[in-house]
């Protein structure tokens, strides 16, 4: 097991991701953050908290999206659905999708399909903590990435969160 990001590095990366989002849109106007279930929401929770600390008083919408019913491998493995919570319209909004690891790109493909069923956003961008480069099966790239790594397909990248796994860290298993 090899550590890719320590707790401190993770915290710095998350701060940077929040700042980069603000660089592109200083007041987060017409911007919506959507975390992907199940594990992307730990990152989106942190980013939203960081944004709120940097720009207190600015409100923006934050939702959670589950993509189970949009997967292309329903018949291979049955996935259990988690809650979707998008109690606002994304019509004409700039949406930032947030997930922990970008690997083949298939989850994001499904997320784009799911997202469009909620309306027509003006723009969709992608934020991930770990970008597994050279592993893509679809033409999807992140707009915000915590760290890019080169890992072969037998490697497993695990992002651990305090809330769930007792410790913040990213490891190669």
């Amino acid at each position: 097991m090899k550590t890719i990001l320590s707790e401190q590095q993770m915290s710095l990366s998350i701060q940077r991701l929040a700042h980069q989002m603000l660089e592109n849109n200083p007041n987060m106007t017409n911007t919506v953050i959507i975390g992907l279930q199940p594990r992307g929401i730990y990152l989106s929770d942190r980013i939203v908290a960081a944004l709120k600390a940097i720009i207190p008083g600015q409100s923006f919408h934050y939702g959670k999206l589950d993509i189970t019913f949009y997967r292309d491998d329903v018949r291979k493995t049955l996935h259990i659905a988690n809650a979707t919570d998008i109690p606002f319209s994304i019509e004409g909004q700039s949406v930032i999708l947030v997930d922990d690891v970008l690997y083949t790109g298939r989850t994001i493909r499904a997320a784009l399909d799911a997202l469009l069923d909620f309306g027509r956003p003006s723009k969709v961008s992608l934020c991930v903590l770990i970008d597994r480069r050279f592993s893509r099966e679809l033409p999807i790239q992140p707009d915000y990435a915590g760290k890019a790594i080169d890992a072969i397909f037998t490697d497993k990248v695990k992002v651990n969160w305090k809330e769930k796994d007792e410790k913040d860290e990213v490891v190669l298993v």
Binding site: F69, R75, L78, I80, A81, A114, D117, F118, G119
Partner: protein
Amino acid sequence: MKLSTKHLLGIKDLTKEDIQLILTTAGQFKEVLQRPVKKVPSLRDVTIVNLFYENSTRTRMSFELAERRLSADVLNFAASSSSAAKGETLLDTVNNILSMKVDLVVMRHSASGAPHFLAKHIPAAIVNAGDGINEHPTQALLDAFSMQEKTGRIEGLKVAIIGDIMHSRVALSNMYLLKKMGAEVMVVGPPTLIPKYLEQALGVKVTYNVKEALQWCDVANVLRIQLERQNQPLFSSLREYNLAYGIKQSMLDQLGKEIVIMHPGPINRGVELDSDVADGPHSIILNQVENGVAVRMAALYLLAGRSDNH
């Protein structure tokens, strides 16, 4: 996680975990049904036939809508307007349909056990949409989902099932499900409409006094008198049934507490349920219908997601 069974023939065959899984998944589908686009692509490579050998409005439409909202291809079959009327056997009809590459069969039949027979002879997965006086599993699941949604729990809930217990597949499926999930069940109706030894067989309470049941329960699930399944007179008249067992608003007013009123439909107004009760503030009858689509989506999704069903 997946269901422990290949088919959904009855609640009797399900484990507590299966039931919990279907109810949880149904909750997620209920959210899908609130979206601007109420449709997901999950089953777009699955073909489902709805085989209805018995009349149905609610259940057939609910299944068809659930299938379409999952993006499945849907075939409809009504026995009254088909080759079954020309004398074709059930197995022949189904094998002919399956040779057109159908993955899942939803079936209603007036003979108890018809879907179980089919399950032994065909490779496709089967969902029982009601077989004779045996089971109606998706109705029990949507009843449980609605109870849980309204009261926040199933375990420990006191549920009275009122009416024609003998001929009701809804009653049997509900009793199996509620007992498995840890609820308390009391059945009430005329002695001629309650099977003997029910107490010993299923562990439910039995009473012939409707007021006692209403006083005891948190939820009253009121059933229709299944006249079409009674081949001998089991009570003197519908009017007398209403006087003895019909639920009236005045009875609810005297309870000193609020209870939830449910009915699987179709209602015979003025027989088992008076109109002011059916349309009253404690009735969740139309919520049951709404939840039916989400629950059936969950059952179909979980069955189609088993790799051995393809």
